[in-house]
């Protein structure tokens, strides 16, 4: 019976050290990652604005805003307007 308590103590030590070490690496490498990405960061990707601009040409801006807002509200932000075509 003593043996299992020894194992439990070993598990406590190994387990907590591993958990701490993993999350310590997360902190260190996470910070490194942020710095690295910052270093390579030049221009922001503006996909969204592009597509909005494209839509803009076809629709008056107030209608556009209404539709975009509705979609965002309705889909809880999951929705994604790719194109708006008139249906005749």
């Amino acid at each position: 019976m003593e043996g299992v308590f020894g194992t439990a103590l070993m598990l406590l030590l190994v387990g907590m050290i591993t958990v701490f070490f993993v999350l310590f690496m997360v902190v260190i490498l996470g910070k490194l990652l942020i710095r690295l990405v910052n270093a390579f960061h030049k221009e922001a990707p503006t996909h969204k604005k592009d597509s909005l601009a494209t839509i803009n040409q076809a629709l008056p801006p107030n209608k556009l805003a209404a539709i975009v807002t509705t979609v965002e509200v309705v889909t809880q932000g999951k929705g994604n307007i790719k194109s708006i075509d008139k249906i005749d």
Partner: protein, 392 residues
């Protein structure tokens, strides 16, 4: 009509039905993690009606059922055993649910406050502390490890570990894990009352941030969020390979979320239909393991008790870790941030935020609490990996 006779003659079965009804009440009326508790509770009912053939048959290491084909299992033991033995006993559903959890997780708050992730490590102490007590009460090492993992406050992790180490305890451990996660709004304030002073509770994280501003802003959050799960996967895989099924799927789910539009179809499936389907079948069949013979014994009571102690120790561990940190650092941290390290995402963070606001109406802790809270998910998955590789 013999079913009625069977019922009257077996008070154990009646008690199981009562337990099922009480859990339904807690899930529906008290909204205790209803997504899991309602299917589990209904599974208990289905399993315990005499003659329904919906209870999961326990299996030891060498049982014949492990070598039966799906058709043989279905024919001999019915559809619930078919579901259990093909999706739970194989260990399939917990990683799949973890993929969904990943697809719903935002690492943003943690990335903005990386330092706080360490308290998600400290708050796993309950997992390992409870081992000693469990062993003292006669559980063997595998059972004790499964009991301890309740202190990780993470349902899929607890279920995955128990499937691997002590599948005969799956029912009570799942119930305890999800119930205490639901009881976090009661347990955290209780622990906080005994461990944190009013002065500490008033530590305002935003003011601290203004006084000691961080040097490195995140200029391209999207890129960081995409690379982070890949990086984290590599760290975890190298250090704790046995947690790869769990953590790997979590990070895959997160990756297809963060990539955005081009993998949106996959993200929708992982966080929607796949996760919901897995939740239904996991809940029902975990519930169906709880027949009178397998559930009604002293082990169950000890698990319920031990699970609570594990939770309490984990929360205390997180709080104390912050206090120790504050001894040495100038930029103080509110100990509530330690209390959320056990995980139980996002309930624990909300509770911490509310407690914080009670003492200082301008002290919004949510974003900070989420940092240690999410770190706690990784922490307990890593702890599970250690347990599985050393004890399994």
């Amino acid at each position: 009509m013999t079913a009625l006779g069977d019922l009257i003659l077996s008070p154990g079965t009646l008690l199981m039905l009562l337990i099922g009804l009480i859990l339904l009440y807690l899930g529906i009326k008290k909204e205790f993690e209803p997504l899991l508790l309602v299917p589990i509770a209904f599974g208990i009912l289905l399993a315990n009606f005499p003659g329904g053939n919906m209870g999961v048959i326990p299996s030891g290491e060498n049982d014949a059922i492990l070598h039966m084909t799906l058709l043989e299992i279905a024919k001999e033991y019915g559809i619930m055993n078919l579901i259990y033995y093909s999706t739970i006993k194989t260990g399939l559903l917990p990683p799949i649910i973890f993929m969904g959890v990943g697809a719903l997780t935002d690492f943003g708050p943690m990335l903005r406050n990386l330092r706080l992730a360490l308290f998600g490590a400290a708050a796993q102490i309950g997992i390992f502390s409870v081992l000693f007590g469990a062993l003292a009460f006669g559980f063997n090492l595998k059972e004790a490890a499964s009991l301890g993992i309740i202190g990780g406050a993470d349902g899929p992790t607890a279920i995955f570990t128990t499937i691997k180490l002590a599948p005969h305890l799956l029912g009570p451990i799942a119930i305890a894990a999800y119930s205490y996660m639901a009881l976090v709004p009661v347990i955290i304030p209780l622990v906080v009352k005994f461990t944190i002073t009013e002065k500490e509770l008033k530590i305002n994280m935003k003011k601290m941030d203004k006084m000691y501003p961080s040097k490195v802003p995140i200029k391209n959050l999207k890129a960081v969020k995409i690379i982070f799960p890949i990086l984290l996967g590599i760290i975890v895989a190298i250090l704790v390979p046995s947690s790869v099924p769990l953590v790997g799927m979590l990070l895959f789910g997160n990756l297809i979320k963060e990539i955005g539009t081009s993998t949106e179809r996959l993200h929708a499936a992982a966080s929607g239909s796949i996760m919901n389907t897995a939740t239904i079948f996991l809940g029902l069949s975990v519930g169906a393991t709880m027949t009178a013979t397998s559930f009604l014994n002293s082990n169950t009571l000890l698990i319920i008790l031990g699970g609570f102690i594990a939770f309490a120790i984990s929360i205390t561990g997180g709080v104390l870790a912050v206090k120790v940190y504050n001894l040495f650092a100038e930029k103080k941290i509110n100990p509530l941030i330690g209390a959320t390290g056990l995980s139980a995402v996002p309930m624990a963070s909300r509770v911490a935020n509310e407690i914080g606001l009670k003492y200082d109406s301008g002290n919004h802790l949510l974003q900070y609490a989420m940092a240690s809270n999410i770190a706690g998910v990784i922490g307990s998955a890593v702890a599970a990996g250690v347990l599985i590789s050393f004890v399994g």
